[in-house]
């Protein structure tokens, strides 16, 4: 699949934003005061909204995006739109209460945490629902999105809490969260290794229905140039450096944040340092998400000479 920057940005940024909203909601200790009550929600909401706005750059007609709220009964993309807006509205109310009263309303916060989880789940289901992309068509896809979202949120929230409390136990928990997230991702990668189109039972023989005659190969494409399908779904260029990029993702997204977080925990340093762990984690996730798209094989490639091009 074509790794569109807008969609990568959308899934990573809004994942982190809703993760942070969930952490704020469940009551992770954070600085008080009017300024914090304004800036911290601005950061969480800003990440989520920046991601959602980026996703509209992927649209042919962004001015009609409001129509996407109508089909929540059948469409995961529509559900994602609805869940994100409802959660953001609740979060706006929460922020208002926080700014006015100085109190963080736990009942509303828990509702926001639930809404955030639902939003991230629906985002992942946009991809996981597609039978045409066997890499994505697994329950591990939403699991991955959820653990990364929560881990990003937790690491950032713990970092921000460094302004008021020095709680290196929180760093210990963050170590576990980061490790767990990448273990789930490792399981996803293991799944992907055995989830090629051929593994899922789709071949050029089933695509053409000519398998009972013999082995099928493409002799001529229907057209000499590219088309929407080949650029969007028969994208193979991105896979060239997959192994190297996977190492980069692990280095930036796993090793570096783990190192920082472990150091904070071991030396009982200020958890403020964990903001850097968050930045590294995000950088790693951009690479991970790039691979999520670039490595995925789409069934339509079988009509264009197979997934290897």
């Amino acid at each position: 699949m074509h790794p569109a920057i807008s969609v990568i940005f959308f899934t990573v940024m809004s994942g982190a934003g809703f993760g942070l909203m969930a952490m704020i909601g469940v009551g992770v200790p954070l600085p008080g005061g009017l300024l914090a009550a304004f800036l911290i929600p601005l950061l969480a909401g800003g990440l989520a909204v920046a991601g959602l706005i980026a996703s509209t750059f992927h649209l042919g007609h962004p001015e009609r995006a409001w129509r996407a709220f109508s089909q929540w009964r059948s469409s995961w993309l529509s559900r994602e739109g609805c869940a994100s807006v409802i959660t953001l509205l609740l979060f706006g109310l929460y922020t208002l209460i926080w700014m006015v009263t100085g109190e963080r309303a736990l009942w509303l916060g828990l509702l926001i945490a639930a809404g955030s989880l639902v939003t991230v789940y629906t985002t992942a289901m946009i991809y996981a629902q597609l039978k045409t992309v066997p890499h994505w068509h697994t329950g591990l896809t939403p699991t991955c999105y959820l653990v990364f979202s929560l881990t990003c949120g937790y690491v950032l929230a713990t970092g921000l809490s460094g302004f008021v409390v020095s709680n290196s136990d929180a760093a210990g928990l963050a170590v576990l969260a980061i490790a767990l997230a990448w273990i789930v991702k490792y399981m996803w990668w293991k799944h992907a290794e055995n989830a090629s189109l051929a593994d899922s039972g789709s071949t050029m023989e089933t695509a053409t229905g000519l398998g009972n005659i013999g082995k099928v190969r493409l002799l001529e494409r229907p057209h000499t140039g590219e088309n929407y399908l080949t650029r969007e779904m028969v994208h193979v260029v991105g896979r060239k450096h997959a192994a190297k990029l996977r190492k980069i993702a692990l280095l930036l997204g796993a090793a570096l944040p783990l190192l920082i977080t472990l150091a904070v925990w071991a030396f009982t340093a200020s958890t403020l340092w964990m903001v850097f762990a968050f930045l590294a984690l995000m950088a790693g996730l951009f690479v991970e998400r790039w691979l999520f798209f670039a490595e995925a094989e789409h069934a339509v490639s079988l009509y264009y000479g197979g997934p290897q091009g």
Binding site: G60, R67, S74, T132, T206, I213, P222, A299
Partner: protein
Amino acid sequence: MTSLPQSTNKALGLVIDLDTCVGCHACVVNCKEWNTGGYGAPLADLDPYGAEPEGSWLNRIHTFEVSPADAPASIVHFPKSCLHCADAPCVTVCPTGASYKREEDGIVLVDEDMCIGCGLCAWSCPYGAREMDPVENVMKKCTLCVDRIYNENIPEVDREPACVRTCPAGARHFGDFADPNSNVSQLVSERGGFDLMPEMGTSPVNKYLPPRPKTKPSSCGSATPLTAAQPKAGGLLGWLDQALEKLG
């Protein structure tokens, strides 16, 4: 609403005969010609006369080579357009309701004014039946020539999809699969019509007819090759020929 209808009164679609198709692309051209001026936005082309032409088309012909284990390879021309699936994933993924399947005849259509151009329907289609128009930025797909088949302003003989009407080989057939006595249902049962990628669970309406078995060269028996005729030479050349023969 982008939920699929429980059932459709008719199941209109195509039968494509892979035995008969000669790969001339006439259906592709006539499809583009009709649909660029009919339903919805025109089907745009970019750089049509330049080095890298591309554009949106609703029907395309791939060409495959099939190699049996015990016979020479054969060529199969393979027309592909929307299969108007009974269980169409492109309809249910649509976030706006632009993509829908008609209850009356099962045709899958896009309401282009509602399409936001997210492309998710194209991602959900295993057959590559949907292409984003590069100029209008809305999703284009085969309409089964919905503006021809019910059109009382054109002669009755033309009230079938443009690709079917134009096929010089008679490789394309249009009809109602819900009616077991229709021409298309008969063809499917007689010739063993099949679904493309049944494992995707899309229940396509369009069916493909397999190429008829080829006669294998070994089963034809052996024939004695003819020897080339030897013309008799006369005159000087004839004398020379005889004289040289005698010399051994």
